[in-house]
């Protein structure tokens, strides 16, 4: 069975500082990996995904994540955060070519300090 671990439940960071949100997964088969974002009082929306090819994937709002197979990680990074990035971020995994079931981590709340 697949699982996702997000070790940090909350991450405080000053505005314009860099941030890394950690995600590790466990699976005996090949996987797809995702980051979802939940802004306050809203549903979740897909931020970025790794399916195949380049291990570095980017979102339109400056976030990037790198798939590291040897470390089974898919950490999310942004070089300079903005107050509008305040949200909860969820890492998710599904089995490659059998992705009916999508498993989420517990989430990391990103708190931007002025």
């Amino acid at each position: 069975a697949q699982s996702v671990t997000q070790l940090d439940s909350q991450v405080p960071v000053f505005e314009e500082a860099p941030v890394e949100l950690r995600c590790n997964y466990s699976s005996s088969v090949s996987v797809y990996l995702f980051w979802y974002v939940q802004y306050p009082n809203q549903g979740l929306q897909l931020l970025l995904k790794y399916l195949s090819g380049s291990t570095l994937v980017e979102s339109i709002n400056g976030f990037e994540a790198e798939f590291n197979k040897s470390q089974t990680s898919f950490h999310l990074r942004k070089p300079s955060v903005h107050i509008s990035d305040t949200a909860e971020y969820f890492c998710a995994v599904s089995v490659r070519n059998r992705d009916d079931k999508i498993i989420f981590g517990k989430g990391t709340r990103l708190h931007i300090l002025p």
């Binding site: 599904s94 989420f104 517990k106």
Partner: protein, 112 residues
């Protein structure tokens, strides 16, 4: 375009009462449908998913059940609610790309 509706948005129920949360999707046919629960400190927990009418996969043993009576309708039910059933329930449908889930606005359930 596709849309997803969930209701009710907010619900306060006593322990032991029944539950029915409804989710409908428009603008797509034969979607995979999902129920997740978001509870404090537990993240997003997959409860049920369905790949077609009458086909339900249960992920977590509990006193909840799900049904899919129509192609674009997904219902979450309980005969007797427990305090531990409190949480934020999210319905989602799966788009054409792997892992691409589209979520509804959620239903917040408080069991007293």
């Amino acid at each position: 375009s596709q849309t997803i509706h969930q209701w009710p948005a907010t619900l306060v129920q006593p322990v032991g009462s029944p539950l029915s949360l409804e989710c409908t999707v428009e603008g797509t046919s034969n979607p995979n449908l999902y129920w997740y629960r978001q509870a404090a400190g537990r993240g997003l927990q997959l409860l049920f998913y369905s790949v077609g009418i009458g086909q339900i996969s249960s992920e977590v043993p509990q006193n909840l059940s799900a049904s899919r009576p129509q192609d674009r309708q997904f219902i979450l039910s309980s005969k007797k609610l427990l305090l531990s059933d409190s949480g934020f329930y999210l319905c989602a449908w799966k788009g054409g790309f792997p892992g691409e889930l589209f979520f509804g606005e959620g239903s917040r359930l408080t069991v007293l």
